[in-house]
Amino acid sequence: MMGRRGVLISSASTVLFIVLVGVVIALSPGASIVRERFFDWEHLKNSLLGSSTTPSVLEAFVLNIKIFTIAEAFILVIALGIALIRAVPGPVFFPLRMVAIVYTDIFRGIPLILVLYMIGFGVPGLGLQFLSSRSDVTYGIIALVLVYSAYVAEVYRAGIDSVHQSQIAAARSLGLSRWKAMRYVVLPQAVRRVIPPLLNDFIGLQKDTALVSVLGSVEAARAAQIYAAEQFNYASYVVAAVLFVLITIPLARFTDHLIVRDRNRRQAGATT
């Protein structure tokens, strides 16, 4: 714990640091032009709310939230499925495990933007009746789900592997089937342990929703780009950045909270 003196020193050094950074920026030779190009009040306001020729960054941001929420729901389920498949034992299921491994290897390896292009411009070209006439947002969500499920499956797998073998042995000796041991003994512990890294991946996902714009939809980052190109002013990017930060901060603090809670719980468990 920091004592009173510690708090004083850390506050003082923080203030000093911020002041110095501020002075450096303010004294830099291009300060006024940067202020005008990035932080002009009128431009900040106009890009946030939109005008007759430029979309509102705030309104466009709703699309990011929509994409993120839908994708996240699918990712949680699909990734868990993949992790479970990789945990299925027995030589008979080797092909199944193989598919899961190949899937994670491929989709963790390909940059998201390439997957977006392949799905968004490739699938409609196939001419399949059911798949080929979806909106570009749908293709964007599919691409996000494909890529992030591969990441998140690995997170789940790490959680499952972290549960000690003896727990499975104990569950099996109590007469639980393999599946039941997984369902009632391993998974509850595994999932609790991986919640922080899971949330970390979701913060990444929130930001990557911006990439869906390559398929044509106007989300916050694209709306900001349109404003910037029209007005030759970057204030709109600042607005978009602030919006993204505003939704990731609560998630980050929530993650911290979960980590602390988990640590306290485990310590409490150790002493009793």
Binding site: L16, I33, D136, S213, V214, L215, Q225, A229, Y234
Partner: protein
């Protein structure tokens, strides 16, 4: 702790001291008389006209490699260099960076940039060297191919490239029922048109005809919309070279060079029926 903050402070001050002075693009008021005289030209690099454009650069605006661009804009810039009496050197500048604050590493940028009052607050433009209309590109086998009036177009899914004035044109003039789709590059918009996620690609007339003839099989230009836009060369705000380039452009207009260039590179592109 105290020593630590001192070190931090020292580092920051050093940083501040090293922050680059803005490079005076011109030797301010450099000496005697005519700034546009060959020896006095306020050039980024002495004795060379450094001109920037994005890459890939598209025909018919640019042809060949950055070592020796021809094409309408390539030849136009070369003509300017010629009249200023210096050789030309091409560099790459992405459009989205061309209006960033700070000094530029070239004299001017030519990249089919439309002159608008908003943009003129951030950069300086030369006098216009070309006037372009908007065009509509569709796939021949799509329902959009039968659109005959602006009213028909309003109900379709339109697409445009970000940073183009086609987007503002869609929003203010056409005001379609559905929000337009917006793409990073012409190539992405082209893929979307081929994939059918957009019905109409709206961009400048010359580009639509180029795409029809050389890039997208089975596409069709519906027509041009008379909403002329002026292309200008883009300069860092306050660059005194603008005056010299403007007089070169005026010369090229007066002696018919610009018209010749237009006939040479753009003639086939401008013969498209006007859209009502």
């Amino acid at each position: 702790m105290k020593r630590m903050s001192l070190i931090v402070a020292a580092c920051l001050l050093v940083l501040a001291a090293c922050a680059e002075e803005p490079k005076p693009n011109a030797a301010a008021g450099g000496g005697s008389g005519d700034t546009c005289a060959e020896g006095n030209l306020p050039l980024y690099e002495d004795g060379v006209l450094t001109v920037a454009t994005d890459r890939p650069a598209y025909e018919p605006w640019f042809k060949g490699s950055p070592k020796d661009y021809s094409g309408f804009e390539g030849d136009f810039a070369a003509g300017v260099a010629d009249r200023l009496g210096v050789p030309i050197k091409w560099v790459v500048e992405p459009f989205n960076k061309s209006y960033a604050p700070g000094s530029k590493d070239y004299d001017f940028d030519v990249n089919q940039v439309t002159i608008t009052p908003e943009r003129s607050q951030a950069v300086d433009f030369s006098d216009p060297y070309f006037e372009n209309n908007q065009g509509f590109l569709v796939m021949e086998d799509s329902p959009a191919a039968s659109a005959a009036t602006v009213e028909d177009i309003k109900g379709l899914q339109l697409g445009a490239q970000v940073g183009t004035t086609a987007l503002a044109f869609i929003n203010t003039v056409l005001q379609p029922d559905k929000d337009p789709k917006v793409f990073d590059t012409t190539n992405d918009a082209k893929s979307a048109l081929e994939a059918g996620t957009i019905d109409v690609f709206v961009t400048d007339l010359v580009t639509t005809v180029y795409l029809r003839d050389f890039e997208i099989k089975g596409s069709k230009v519906l027509g041009q919309y008379p909403k002329p836009e002026n292309f200008g060369a883009l300069f860092e705000k306050g660059n005194p070279l603008v005056e010299c380039v403007n007089s070169a452009i005026q010369e090229m207009k007066d002696d018919g060079t610009l018209q010749d260039l237009q006939d040479e590179w753009l003639k086939q592109y401008l013969k498209i029926p006007t859209f009502q």
